[in-house]
Amino acid sequence: MSGSMEIDWFPLWLSLRVAVLSTLMAVACGMALAYVLANGRFRGREALDAALTLPLVLPPTVLGYYLLVVLGRESALGRLYESIFGGPLVFSWQAAVVAAFLHSAPLLIKYIRAALESVDHSYERAARTLGAGEWRLFWRVTMPLAQRSILAATALAFARSLGDFGVTIMVAGNIPGRTQTIAVAIYDAVEAGNGALARLLVIIISAIALTILWLANRYGPRQTPA
């Protein structure tokens, strides 16, 4: 086949949409959990950290299986979702968002925690002695000082959620035009012997990932002299 191949761009758009949504969710959860992990003084803090890291080391199929159990149509959460949104969560594109979220959030939490903890404590102490409450301290001092690291971490989380395969295929499946993300589409193209399409998609996703990494490095945390 030559030149005028009809390309289905749906997987790319779906992946971008999934990645944006899951990254937003991951940043919101990540900030809250990272704040608790970085500042909380409670028993089981490190145990919570370990539990949140677990998705990073478990095989994607295991994660997917857990998700099917927790979110499936027979589960309480699945039924709750269905009663609110009128359709099952599993094997919908929203399930792909959950999958991508689970793929990227643990890493993001780790990065944000490190970013928050790396802020020189004397700034936080100074803010406290100047009468700032914890909320003002966080938004006016800690966050601005950590924001470059947090933005860089968010970019990495975005790139990572763009590329989830294992969990996605377990909970969202491979339904062309509905739940087929770019990573799944590449697998599909290779399986179907469509080398040209696979190559094209691989190049696109590599270019996007490379751009994001470059941006994260360029605008990420700088070594500033004290």
Binding site: D120, S122, Y123, R125, A126, A127, R128, T129, L130, G131, A132, G133, R136, R140, V141, P144, L145, T224, P225, A226
Partner: protein
């Protein structure tokens, strides 16, 4: 007025030995200096007062406000303590301009009032021209003044300074002292400052508190502490000379005298109440109270024969260091008369002898 009775124990860990802070300090002076070597618990004391560290036991009062009380479980967070803190690195927020840094400290004020107070403070500390700059564009002296101005804007009841002169060159140091004197003159806020620099104590302190290994060794006006150090540790920290090991040989209260054995020589000193025969004590004589003359044969009462080890030129005088750890200062003219001698006798005036 500050009253702080603190006890905090740190069990030994992989990096450090056990440490116990156990101090009871009270001061109503304008400038109080916590003096001690590194690791004596000075900064820890400051951090307990500021509320960064919770002591195990004790009670902290500023004026009539109770900040901490172990017995009743009161432990105010730093936000509610009204203690300004000037950090060693100044801790000016790097993402804000100097003006924004100052405004941060006065956010409870209404906008217009805040602007007026910030401008006034910038003016007072000669910072108006650089108010729009970020901390990394300020000179060391400007950062220092900015950080003190910021602390004052929060209207604290007490200002804590953690080794403010550490790592500063002589010019910046003098500038800092001038600024602190300005704070003393223009604000009624008492200052509690931590240092391991003796010169700083004498430059600034109205009241000096000497800490050693977590314990309060002595407190009082600096001149008085220099005059009457109460322990060997204090004397050592003050860099005093002529701390000599001695043994009490005789005590005669009726003549108000005592006999002290130093090395191979007996010295007559004043009566030592509370000491017993055979006690090992440390004897202390100020170098300017000793007289030294070249030896010419006989050795009189309260004289010790020594040889000259080293001569140090001081701006106004010379300091002679003899064998046996004896140091004498005298004028250059006096020294010139015996300049070529190696063997000397040092006389200990009876009433100059003090025992720690």
């Amino acid at each position: 007025m500050i009253q702080a009775r603190l006890r905090k124990h740190f069990p030994p860990s992989a990096e450090s030995a056990a440490f116990t802070l156990d101090v009871d300090l009270g001061t109503s002076a304008g400038v109080t200096v916590l003096f001690g070597p590194s690791g004596s618990g000075k900064t820890l004391t400051l951090d307990c007062i500021a509320g960064f560290v919770r002591p195990d036991q004790g009670r902290i009062l500023i004026d009539d406000a109770l900040l901490f009380d172990a017995a009743t479980g009161v432990h105010l967070p730093p936000q509610s303590r009204n203690c300004g803190y000037v950090f060693q690195n100044y801790a000016l927020f790097p993402h804000m301009s100097l003006r924004e840094n100052l405004a941060f400290a006065s956010e409870r004020l209404a906008r217009l009032e805040r602007h007026r107070r910030v401008s006034e403070m910038l003016e007072r500390f000669r910072l108006s021209e650089v108010a729009g700059r970020r901390p990394n564009e300020l000179s060391g002296g400007q950062k220092q003044r900015g950080s003190i101005a910021r602390a004052l804007l929060a209207a604290p009841k007490l200002i804590l300074l953690d080794e403010p002169a550490r790592g500063l060159d002589a010019r910046l140091r003098a500038e800092l002292y001038a600024v602190l004197r300005q704070v003393r003159a223009e604000f009624s806020t008492p200052i509690l400052l931590v240092t391991h620099d003796l010169e700083e104590c004498f430059e600034l302190a109205e009241w000096m508190v000497v800490l050693h290994e977590g314990k309060l060794e002595q407190a009082g006006p600096p001149a008085k502490i220099l005059e009457h150090p109460e322990s060997v540790e204090v004397a050592r920290m003050l860099g005093l000379y002529n701390l000599l090991a001695a043994e009490v040989r005789a005590l005669d209260p009726s003549n108000n005298s005592s006999k002290l054995r130093v090395g191979d020589h007996d010295l007559t000193g004043p009566y030592l109440p509370g000491r017993l025969l055979g006690d090992r004590v440390t004897l202390y004589v100020r170098p300017e109270q000793l007289t030294a003359v070249p030896r010419d044969g006989k050795i009189g009462a309260n004289q010790v024969p020594v040889s000259l080890d080293r001569v140090a030129d001081l701006p106004q005088s010379v300091r002679l260091e003899f064998t046996g750890g004896i140091t004498v200062t005298m004028t250059k003219a006096e020294f010139d008369r015996g300049r070529h001698h190696r063997d000397w006798v040092v006389e200990f005036p009876r009433d100059a002898i003090r025992v720690l």
